[in-house]
Symmetry: C2
Subunit: 341 residues, 2 copies
DNA sequence: CTGAAAGCGCTAACAG
DNA sequence: CTGTTAGCGCTTTCAG
């Protein structure tokens, strides 16, 4: 059982003051090279490790960034996190990651915990359930950088990183219309979150351009859960005017739909054309391959990291813009292609 | 800009000592209910928040658990993490998560950082590259709980959580043999890690039981990357005796194989039967659906969390066992089914 | 270039 | 039940 060694131990050992040790360790300019190397050597030998608690307490900062996401285990989110981690790690920051599991209460709790843990900044992707935003006041009040990504809300001085969801929704729908669809169902969830709401608005806009929007073709699910599938198919089957297009705002769920529709005897894309959202790995695995909207998760993570770091450094540049809009991209695959006949 | 309020501020405000405030806030039994509620109220009003740095410094613990994983963005890992987070969060612990990206150097760096950050315990899934384990000495020397999951190494007093990879490899291979395969190729990577090595041993064992193991049918890849696919297919095609079975230790890569083989004109399962590993979502999406080994990621995360917490609490029970072996399960789907003809 | 000493905010042993 | 006080280990101002 090694016992911890402090700067006092080193100081005693070397016959210098703790201050000198501290400065040496931090490579302070006003310390002679000789003393510095002496200290470094002793630190090495004794296995000295800095105590961050003491350091943080003294410096009033933690070199830690908090992250709250709805859930960790989604391809998109874990990809975003991977990007954030890369940037943070390179800059010497730690990441405390927690998940809200779409619950407002858990989000509040996590926000509080992360505040108390003294994170230097907070990155948030909001829970679907969340309807109030006061819990972030602790951060904004003390001017601790706060950034929202993907699932965002507009709060003064809080940058957001999103894609143009309205446009993406429009593009997806327009594509189906271009392929000849006329009775397109929109399957989505939680219009409470602007990301989904905007996609819906885009869908509606595209539909309205050909004066076709029908309220009954909007299907809002509580969850993108495979258990919902039966009712979805039932709804499609029951439509008085046959559904000929499906815009599903989640690839995984779109894949469930494809499988269920095929099983129910529909031909895809002949009878129904389908487009998803996110460009998840599954979209390339399903047969027919799923058209979708490419959603640059890794890039979003990297930008979120860079943006928050630049705020922490006080540097003003492109990354510290109030809103970063990432380009999405329409990816056309078999599931939505017009069949030539 | 709210300014921070400390227990001294509260003490002054209420005309009591800081100690009383501290005790009240921590719900210490020897404080009168009256004082307690007085303090709580004042804390509420002033927006007091505990300073964890000071608290941690004093208590010499952080209520934080460090986690190092090879990569965040894999379905399996993010599922494990989700389980860990759930347990940690419920117990009031924060999670500092970092990724090694399969690099030994990064793993070392992260280990050091997490140590200095004063995590109370460390959970690790090893990088493929890692060949030395001295960097964990800082933890073992000071008796800081250290646990390995999935990609493990045996270090005294460090619990491990794994599945029986040897048995799983055996089961997968045996299944293919039972379906009539005789010339089975094993595609895997990084035999450096025991998880993969054990699966290989299981494969070999099953093959040897029918005296069929051939060294040339072992294909070890550096990465499960889609770029490797062409050479894999080439190798299969070039085999003097036709390959009739494929045991791939990763579902995603198995899916790449299926797609490429189908494209190359092979019929699955008629010409080649395939089994993967992990039961990733993609395995149910591909056509034909992929047989695989169910790998209980969420459960592994939950157990890892519980195990480490019980170590931290000093409680001795089942969860503090040195090795936890989770049950895997053979899942048989279309890709490996014997065709009746 | 180096040292002394105060302070970061909280906890806990000891005393009352 | 409450107060006094001495740390926890590091940083940093101010003196030298």
């Amino acid at each position: 059982m090694e016992k911890k060694v402090t700067i006092y131990d080193l100081a005693k050992r070397l016959g210098v003051s703790p201050a000198t040790v501290s400065r040496s360790l931090n490579d302070h300019p006003s310390i002679s090279l000789k003393t510095k190397s002496k200290v470094m050597l002793a630190a090495e030998e004794t296995g000295y490790r800095i105590n961050k608690f003491a350091s943080n307490l003294s410096l009033q900062k933690s070199n830690t960034i908090g992250v709250i996401v709805p859930k960790l285990n989604s391809d998109f989110m874990s990809t975003v996190l991977s990007g954030i981690e890369k940037i943070a790690n390179e800059a010497g920051y730690n990441l405390i990651i927690s998940q809200s599991l779409e619950s407002e209460e858990k989000e509040k709790f996590n926000t509080k915990t992360l505040f108390e843990s003294g994170v230097d900044a907070l990155l948030v992707s909001l829970a679907n359930e969340t309807k109030t935003y006061d819990h972030f006041n602790t951060f904004t009040n003390r001017k601790i950088p706060l950034l929202f990504f993907d699932r965002v809300i507009n709060i003064p001085d809080c940058p957001t990183i999103i894609i143009d969801n309205l446009r993406a929704g429009y593009d997806a729908t327009k594509h189906l219309l271009d392929q000849g669809c006329r009775n397109i169902m929109h399957i989505t969830h939680g219009l409470n979150r602007s990301a989904y709401h905007q996609r819906y608005v885009g869908y509606k806009k595209a539909m309205d351009e050909v004066t076709l929007f029908k309220k009954e073709n909007l299907l809002v699910l509580d969850q993108f859960n495979s258990r919902e599938i039966d009712s979805v198919i039932a709804k499609i089957t029951a439509s008085p005017e046959p559904i000929d297009g499906l815009f599903v705002t989640n690839d995984t769920f779109a894949v469930y739909c494809i499988k269920a529709l095929l099983k129910a005897g529909y031909r895809i894309p002949d009878d129904i054309k389908i487009i998803g959202f996110n460009n998840d790995p599954v979209s390339e695995v399903i047969n027919p391959e799923l058209s979708t909207i490419e959603y640059p998760g890794y890039r979003m993570g990297v930008l979120a990291g860079q943006s928050i770091l630049s705020h922490l450094n006080g540097s003003i540049n492109i990354e510290s813009a109030d809103q970063i809009l990432l380009k999405h991209q329409l990816i056309i695959r078999q599931s939505s292609r017009k069949t030539t006949n």
